[in-house]
Symmetry: C2
Subunit: 296 residues, 2 copies
DNA sequence: CAAAGTTATTAATTTTTTTAATAGCAAGGG
DNA sequence: CCCTTGCTATTAAAAAAATTAATAACTTTG
């Protein structure tokens, strides 16, 4: 069985037309015809039901089953090629969601050696995209921010921190003296949110829904300091995970008192048995050591 | 890329010897040599480090990465062959753990049409083995008995019932009048357990451990009625999930009062997007309908 | 019933794979 | 040291497999 035959077959399952497949791959029509016959002989079952009827090639039951496996094989094949293609770059390619980049990565980076930092490349991705890229072999590992535990069979997810979302108000805001605030007290406030952070939005909506509110969102910025500035001018209030990396003299972070509140969970994810060069492995272990030390 | 080349390569990763691989596959040594060269050319990287040195062929980093993918591809290939090989039998092959066979399957079978029952074949398997066989394409679906939620990415697990384990005593046993019993009261009892049911054993040990006991197990039988008989003769007490399919006039099932007690969870598992013949699909849907009706 | 669109078959050609023979290399034993 | 042993690579020839162009055969459609 050859990979090209599988490619023809998979194209056929899309196309339902031998001739078109042959054109797609710049080969003659009998090539495709014979390729499919070869496959059928090898698996011992008819895969496609041909009809000189215009346009209609349908799959047998075996053909449908086989299509799934053919796809899986091709994916694995492509994965192999991209992964091996990436080997020469001796760096470790890391996914980094925006929130982590802001709130955690400075601290983690501080714990890494220069040698490790030099060979570390990061790509900005959300949690969903990160898993996708890992699956495609386009990332070696990724940080993740999420609200609900992530379960991915083939990947190891290490959760290394968790912290609540807080309300940000100006120091001279009426709420600034409060030790805690419940979300439903904020029905009339204007919110300034973090743009591009799917997680902040998700957490915000979760709280809004639980409290049956539809809070007004004044503005979204992808730059946390822009938000703190606007908050300090009392243009609105913020909703953000507190972090020692995000500070402003004129604003105050106030915890929520809601009994059920979303928590930002922060994790590190990688293939269960990653094969790394010794250089990559060194960096990898440094990162693992860094996240195993509690965050401030 | 051909499957046979991958087979040679994988054998080589075991063997570290081109000549032995060639003998294994009854081909000449240059065949293997050239196959590996072809692979290396196709993936664009050296895979094996040869040495005319006796016995030492080692893998490059790329070679190790590629070995993983080669294995995955071969597994998928074999899976395709076995699955397609099973298609002709028009029946649905179902895994059935012993406990389910005794406690649930009679009721479920009663809800199926004759047509469905005729084409249903069952294989006795534990939960672990069931998932293994599903992954190998050797089962279409399986019932599962388990204590802790099962998480399997590629499979759909429907939990359709859950019930506690109970103590079985003879009607004239001193404990027979009790509405409930706590497990730690049973330290001095002789137990008669269900043999071959990994789940019963696991639940029993869980309770024993939680109560810091090492209860005496008098006997294990794989036949539930043998247990009930012995219990009725006051030879010992039983530990079993109650079921209307397992009854005996001279014994009584008594619930445990322990706050934390294991529950037998009963589920049905199948590939997320199963491809079934229309006949199989009919049976499949009947089973789904049957388990969606609450059990007695 | 002819035209258009499809897949299968055939025989010739081309490409790829396999082989037998052999070269070449390194280690180990006398 | 040299010969033997055990290995892989390289050849050139042979065998096998894949591809093609040409064409047959079939079905629907106008």
């Amino acid at each position: 069985m050859r990979i090209t035959d599988l490619q023809y077959y998979l194209a056929l399952t899309d196309n339902h037309n031998f001739s078109q497949v042959s054109q797609q791959f710049h080969v003659s029509q009998p090539t495709v015809s014979l390729a499919i016959q070869r496959l059928e002989k090898e698996v011992g079952a008819q895969l496609a039901i041909r009809s000189s009827h215009h346009n209609i090639v349908s799959l047998t039951h075996a053909g449908q089953v086989f299509a799934q496996h053919a796809q899986a094989i091709l994916e694995q094949y492509n994965l192999a090629l991209t992964e091996i293609g990436r080997i020469d770059e001796q760096s470790l390619l890391l996914g980094l969601p925006p929130i982590i980049q802001i709130s955690y990565f400075p601290e983690i980076a501080g714990r890494l050696s220069n040698q490790a930092l030099e060979h570390l490349k990061t790509v900005e991705v959300g949690a969903h995209k990160a898993i996708q890229l890992l699956q495609d072999g386009k990332l070696d590992a990724s940080f993740l921010g999420y609200l609900e535990a992530i379960n991915q069979n083939d990947f190891q997810v290490l959760q290394f921190d968790q912290r609540p979302f807080e309300i940000v108000v100006a120091n001279d805001h009426p709420l600034a003296t409060r030790p805690t605030i419940s979300f439903k007290e904020l029905a009339d406030q204007n919110f300034i949110l973090l743009k591009g952070s799917f997680i902040h939005k998700q957490a915000f909506e979760q709280l809004a829904q639980a409290n049956h509110l539809q809070p007004n969102i004044l503005f979204s910025s992808s730059e946390p300091y822009a938000i703190l500035n606007l908050v300090s001018q009392n243009r609105g209030i913020g909703f953000m995970v507190s972090s020692k990396n995000i500070q402003h003299p004129d604003v105050k972070f106030i915890p929520l008192s809601d009994p059920e509140q979303p928590q930002l969970k922060v994790g590190f994810v990688y293939r269960k048995s990653p094969i790394l060069t010794t250089e990559q492995n060194t960096i990898f272990n440094e990162i693992l050591a860094a996240i195993h030390t509690p965050m401030l």
